[in-house]
Amino acid sequence: MKLLFSSWLHNLVDNREKSGDSWSDCPSVTLPETFDKERRMTAFMGWGGVVIVSEPYDIVEMAYEYAKSLQASSCAKCFPCRVGTKVIEDLLHVIVEGRGSDDDLDRLATLCHSISKNSKCGIGQLGPKPITDTLLHFKDDYRRYLSGGEKRPGFYYPYKMTAPCTSACPTGMDIPLYIEHVKEENFGASLATIREASVMANMLGRACFHPCENNCRRANVETSLSICKIKRFAWDYEDQHAVGQPVNLNKHTREEKVAVIGGGIAGMVCAYNLALKGYRVTVFEKLPYSGGAARTGIPQYRVPNEVMDKEARYVKEMGVEIKYNVHFGKDETFKSLREKGFKAFFLATGADLSKPMRVEGENDGYDGFYNGIEILHQVKQNLNPVPKRKKTLVIGGGNTAMDCCRTFARLGSDVKIVYRRTEKELPADPHEYKDSLDEGVEYMFLEAPSKIIAENGKIVGLLSQKMKLGEPDESGRRRPKPIEGSEHVIDADCIISAIGQDCDIFYLDEDKQIQVTKWQTPVADEDTMRTDAPDVFAGGDCMTGPATLVDASGQGKRGAQSIDQFIRGEKIRISDTQWMEKIIRKIGAYDKDEVIPVPKGWSRQPMPICDRDKKLGSFEEVELGYTQEQVMDEAGRCMRCYIVGMACVINKGDDKQ
């Protein structure tokens, strides 16, 4: 990207003396074109340094505002940051008012150094860096203020305090805070912090794919924090101890009714957040139980049914009504619910149709053929007994395929995964893959199904073709190409298709306003979740296509925010702070090359696992959860990498949020 100036991370690019055409490129920095698709952003200041996109900007005013933001973000738990950033703020205030001196600049430099070396968390450790950069590179700008001639332009400086892990989390969960609460034996507060971001604490604590852990700075020292399992502990603690649960003081303080279609994670999070704002929410769920894909798709040994029941009970306590066995589109429609007084809808119907493989024989009703989605549901909820199969082939390489192969391993079958690319491209979670290998699942890579072979209506094998990898497709992965003449038969009496999921959105036919994408999902804004119908919003798998629990959770929360704005007649938009979140995500909060001055060698706590024999023989939970000693030790490793990102925005918005 072409920038006027950047000291971001390790790369200094200074184009201030050059004309526009001869600006050198800054490849390590990516920022969006505008702040919020409307207003200009001319500069960005954060933990990595200073970035000036273009004129106009005022570096001294920005430094002052940045110091103010550090002070406002300071948790007050250590002296250098709590007092030090106040001293910096006051010094810069004096300077920006034209009353500063050279001594003040020296003092500022000393302060920045001292604070960054001695602080307890990222605010103090990383906060001063951009201010130091301004002192190093913008002396003239300071001089102009020192001489008393300069006047502040009064630009607008929205900021966001976050952390690399928080930034990576689709719900924006304050991860360092909930980990700190665990470290300080304040488990109830930890769970409350988690629930602020997503009420489905337990589900996430057991099954989230934890993008946060891939953005954890501790990995630069030894290994990342076990963030996900610390969350599980916090929920388990409330469940297993005689401690009270929080209550909703706002229960039904508003009259308006909102309909949430689908009781999976997106729907439940949306419902919970609306209930906290006082709305009367009804969740319409077509199955006899809530939980969506987590309930029907994730096997008992990862997320037990009881877990989902307890989550649902908690959400109900908050004032949410859940109606089971009501199929939206058949039993209720937009029209019927609008007539019943529902003011808004949140569509969260998920992606529960198994994607067809388009392989001969898959629709012939052979005994031994299963759709991955359906068979997982069947096993999880004990709907019909599954006959014992000798040799099972699971077609696919994602998490659904993992769930299927590990389930069938437990049901006593020899299981093989048939995947058309190689191990390198396998989309499944690495630890699911490893666990499946532990459980005896074999992998056949570079194989793709051609035809299902059956005798007398029973499957006896799969005709499979060997593949090789060619050029990358639009997802970036190398496209597999069949090798001529390589077809061969793999013996099997059971074949499960787990190559992907589609959304069942037949109910959208009713409201022609709502547009539909080519992937059979409703068109919706990725930030506000609004569709083209003013009272209809959508989120979760049904809107994005099959994704993750935590993405769905974040969308559910934003859906609640937008519905609230809609009902109150406000402009439906995300706040400036939320725009800052997106900008920080773009510039990237985590630097895997950062050298962190922390002693090495404090290793991650291993997760206790149930006996291997027990593992295969039953659907008992594999992971036993951390003990209190373990979790408090693990929590001690967290470095609390709080950071502040601030933008310089030209033309104040109508409402500064």
């Binding site: 973000s73 002296f79 030090g84 950033t85 001695n118 307890k120 304040n186 101890h241 290793s603 209190q628």
Partner: protein, 868 residues
């Protein structure tokens, strides 16, 4: 990435200032340095808390790391090279002090903490003598009233010690940081006025003057003389300092390094000292002449006492004289009392209120288990695999033990189970299960826990695996066989899941510590319950610890204040035992057979004519107070010794002024059987004397040995009482000394009697009343401490919210509480602690004596409540 090493295991080798050292995995750098005597300065660090890391003073350098490392929060890691002193570290520390001192008011001349202030100490140490930094907006903020405490934000350095100690050790979690940045302050979590236990732990750990006591300190720290003593308010036996200026106690302060309590105190200990200087003392001996109490000399008073006892004994026999002794008497007081009565007068009927409430229990304890099975050291708390509180209000009874338990739970993750008739689970961290049983079904619950532990489907403990702990495991298991745990759950009102959870944990983790509280001790079925719990402990490799209500309840029994036992649990009817003491004492008293009815029944029916009440007030505190008053009024002659006038002392023919603990030395024996020394701190008030001296004087008049000092009495105890060998004042002066009780360890099988105790019909008295101690008051001394009275000024009754709704009662209503024996006025508190149909009434308000509601022969007291 470096090869990571597992923490909390094995031994770590590293270097400290160039020296190769070893430490167990999981130790912090600071702990490792301290254990080697290497000094690293700290400010926010407190050993009994988890590392805080707010002051940034404890920095060290680690090779390979570019910047200071906080030693309090970093574990030692293999091959780490640590340097604790350098120029740059010194410079950093000075800068940190400068940050802390920015805008810190220079109030040292008027600040209470001056002279004991960590800020002063560290500034001096790091030579932070000039200030490079300043901020704008310095405005003096008002001091916040926190009832017994005060919070001054201007002085606060936000070290968070108060927050942490309240959460980790006290379990109340009342405080937190409010706000961000420089303007942040400490505030209550509720944002309402502070309403907590007022233990004052926060006050004791505040390194500066931010938290101070509402009892304004009238002394500078360097004017204070400290006298180490033992708190007289309950059986824990906490050590503390009486801080004196010019002979007056101005404060109680704690010290983490003395005694058993690790610097922790409760509200009674910390704020209950004002009674030591109360004006309401009995200052001279008094004789009742007509209706007035006239001052007389000690000589006159004691001659009359001796004469009257001799006279009564001559006319009516030795069983016509009795002594009711307080459990607050020291060992020397108690020993001397019973020696003079037995050896001097041949009178054996000596008793305490606690023993009288449950004579059956103590007989069981002494005879069947030796005192030992119920006497356990606090060290076991750190070793226990699980905790079970049975019939204990752990946050209010013997509260500092709860602190010890919380620290063990924090450090080891040991699970906690609570069984009580009131929900007393306001523990933090929370218990794994709260078993709120119906009053009367305790024995059933305890027996069903035994069944559940060994049941293959529940606890699954194999009885053979514990054969060395239980005498007859097969017999024990067989005795419990008939119990159906599901039925037990229904009858006791406890969730089956909770019983299962408890039994499973006890079977799996083993070594539980079972605490038994006053609710069980005072229970009509207590012997049954205690035996079952002792069996449960033995079965699971654990121990029991019975809470003693008063500071010397244990010592009182050890010293033979019982009609059936001589000191050291030798039996009073055993000629060999009697011979032992006659030899020691040069006396000739006979073996004593049973003395007959208890003291009050004896007074009522005329058997007892002369009564001596040493240091207690049974009319206010003994169940069925009205009956007690009538019984005492029936006596021909009453002698009362005490510090304060009471309902009992107003009836006395002779009143003798006695000393409070601050005026004399002596020893107490706590829950653990640890003998600890109290020290004289202030002058005797008026003509008050300690009971040992009073009785020694009486003894001298009978020709017994005379004693020149309390220590001399203690020496004699050490010489003659079994178990007390070697426990002289000198030997117990540093950390106390443990009594060696006769040990009888193994449990025995017996017939479990699970029939619930009768709790009476609802009828006209719909509520079952639990009458016990509250937190803020325990006895007359606490009622003479203005601060404690401010915190809990008047009698109250606690009712379940469902009952309140049914009766249309509101919080704060003034109500009449009436039983068939009597009535009191109290104000109503609504709390979901007791079950529906059960109310809780604290016994401690002499102006609304709940003891008067009790009818002595009923297993429970029932009351009705109406608006006044």
């Amino acid at each position: 990435m470096t090869e990571a090493v597992a923490v909390k295991s094995g031994t770590v080798r590293f270097t400290l200032d160039g020296q190769p050292v070893e430490a167990p995995g999981g130790t912090t750098i600071l702990e490792a340095a301290r254990s080697r005597g290497v000094y690293i300065p700290t400010l926010c660090y407190l050993e009994k808390l988890l590392p805080i890391g707010s002051c940034r003073i404890c920095s060290v350098e680690v090779e390979g790391v570019n910047g200071p490392v906080m030693s309090c929060a970093t574990p030692v890691l293999e091959d780490m090279a640590v340097t604790t002193k350098s120029d740059s570290l010194a410079e950093y520390r000075r800068q940190m002090m400068q940050f802390i001192l920015v805008n810190h008011p220079v109030d040292c001349p008027i600040c209470e903490r001056s002279g004991e202030c960590s800020l002063q100490d560290r500034s001096f140490e790091f030579n932070a003598s000039w200030q490079a930094f300043k901020t704008e907006d310095y405005k003096k903020k008002p001091v916040i009233d926190w009832a017994a405490l005060r919070y001054d934000k201007n002085l606060c350095i936000m070290c968070e010690r108060c927050v942490k100690i309240c959460r980790e050790v006290q379990g109340f979690n009342a405080l937190e940081i409010d706000g961000s940045g420089y303007g942040a302050k400490i505030n209550t979590v509720t944002r309402q006025k502070l309403d907590c236990d007022f233990c004052g732990q926060c006050l004791s750990v505040c390194p500066v003057g931010a938290i101070s006591s509402a009892i304004i300190l009238s002394a500078r720290s360097w004017e204070i003389k400290k006298v180490e003593s033992i708190c007289p308010h309950c059986g824990v036996g906490c050590s503390y300092h009486m801080d004196l200026k010019l002979g007056k106690i101005v404060r109680i302060s704690s010290d983490d390094n003395i005694g058993v309590n690790n610097g922790n105190l409760c509200v009674r200990g910390r704020f209950g000292f004002e009674a030591f200087h109360s004006d309401e003392r009995i200052k001279t001996p008094l004789a009742l002449k007509g209706v007035k109490h006239e001052p007389v000399s000690w000589d006159q008073a004691l001659s009359e006492v001796v004469e009257k006892i001799k006279e009564t004994k001559q006319k009516h026999g030795p069983n016509s004289v009795a002594v009711l002794a307080s459990e607050n008497l020291t060992n020397e007081d108690a020993y001397m009392l019973q020696k003079v009565m037995r050896a001097g007068f041949g009178v054996n009927h000596i008793d305490t209120m606690s023993n009288m409430i449950n004579s059956d229990l103590n007989a069981q304890m002494f005879d069947n288990y030796g005192a030992s099975s119920q006497i356990t050291s606090y060290d076991e708390i750190g070793k226990a695999g699980a905790f079970l509180f049975f019939g204990c209000d752990a946050a209010n009874e013997n509260p500092v033990i709860a602190n010890m338990v919380r620290m063990a739970m924090r450090d080891k993750g040991a699970p906690l189970f609570v069984a009580s008739s009131r929900d007393t689970s306001d523990f933090f961290p929370g218990p794994d299960s709260m078993m709120r049983y119906k009053y009367g079904t305790e024995a059933y619950l305890a027996a069903s826990l035994i069944k559940a532990v060994t049941d293959a489907d529940i606890g699954g403990l194999d009885p053979d695996s514990v054969a060395d702990q239980v005498d007859d495991t097969a017999g024990l298991v067989k005795s419990a066989e008939f119990i159906n745990v599901q039925d037990a759950a229904k009858v006791t009102g406890v969730d089956f899941k909770a019983i299962k959870q408890t039994a499973t944990a006890l079977a799996l983790r083993g070594a539980p510590l079972i605490f038994i509280g006053k609710e069980i001790h005072d229970h009509h079925g207590s012997a049954e319950i205690m035996r079952a719990l002792a069996n449960l402990a033995n079965l699971t490799g654990g121990k029991t610890l019975v809470y003693k209500e008063h500071c010397n309840s244990q010592g009182a029994n050890d010293m033979g204040l019982s009609p059936t036992h001589l000191p050291g649990y030798l039996k009073a009817d055993d000629t060999g035992a009697v011979e032992h003491y006659n030899k020691k004492w040069g006396s000739d008293f006979p073996a004593f057979s049973s003395p007959g009815p208890n003291i009050f029944d004896g007074l009522s029916d005329g058997t007892i004519k002369t009564l001596i009440v040493a240091g207690c007030d049974p009319i206010t505190y003994y169940p069925d107070g009205q009956y007690v008053r009538e019984a005492i009024q029936n006596a021909e002659f009453l002698v009362v010794s005490g510090s304060f006038p009471s309902e009992t002392s107003v009836l006395a023919n002779i009143t003798l002024p006695s000393c409070q603990i601050a005026e004399r030395e002596g020893t107490y024996t706590n829950n653990e059987g640890r003998v600890q020394l109290i020290r004289k701190a202030i002058d005797r008030v008026g003509q008050a004397r300690p009971e040992w001296e009073i009785f020694a004087d009486i003894g001298a008049r009978l020709g017994l040995d005379s004693y020149l000092s309390c220590e001399q009495v203690a020496d004699e105890i050490a010489d003659s009482v079994p178990g007390y060998q070697g426990l002289t004042h000198d030997n117990v002066s540093g950390g106390g000394g443990l009594v060696s009780y006769p040990r009888k360890g193994k449990a025995e099988s017996f017939q479990f009697n699970i029939k619930p105790v009768e709790t009476g019909e609802s009828g006209s008295y719909p509520f079952l009343a639990l009458i016990m101690n509250s937190l803020f008051h325990l006895g007359p001394a606490t009622r003479r401490s203005p601060t404690l009275n401010r915190l809990e000024p008047s009698a109250y009754i606690e009712m379940n919210p469902e009952d309140a709704e049914e009766g249309s009662f509101n919080e704060g209503d003034k109500v009449v509480v009436e039983s068939k024996q009597g009535s009191i006025l109290a104000s109503l508190k609504i709390k979901n602690r007791a079950r529906k149909g059960v109310v809780f009434i604290p016994i401690n308000f002499e102006n609304a004596p709940a003891a008067h509601l009790v009818y002595r022969n009923d297993p429970v007291t029932r009351v009705k409540i109406s608006k006044s």
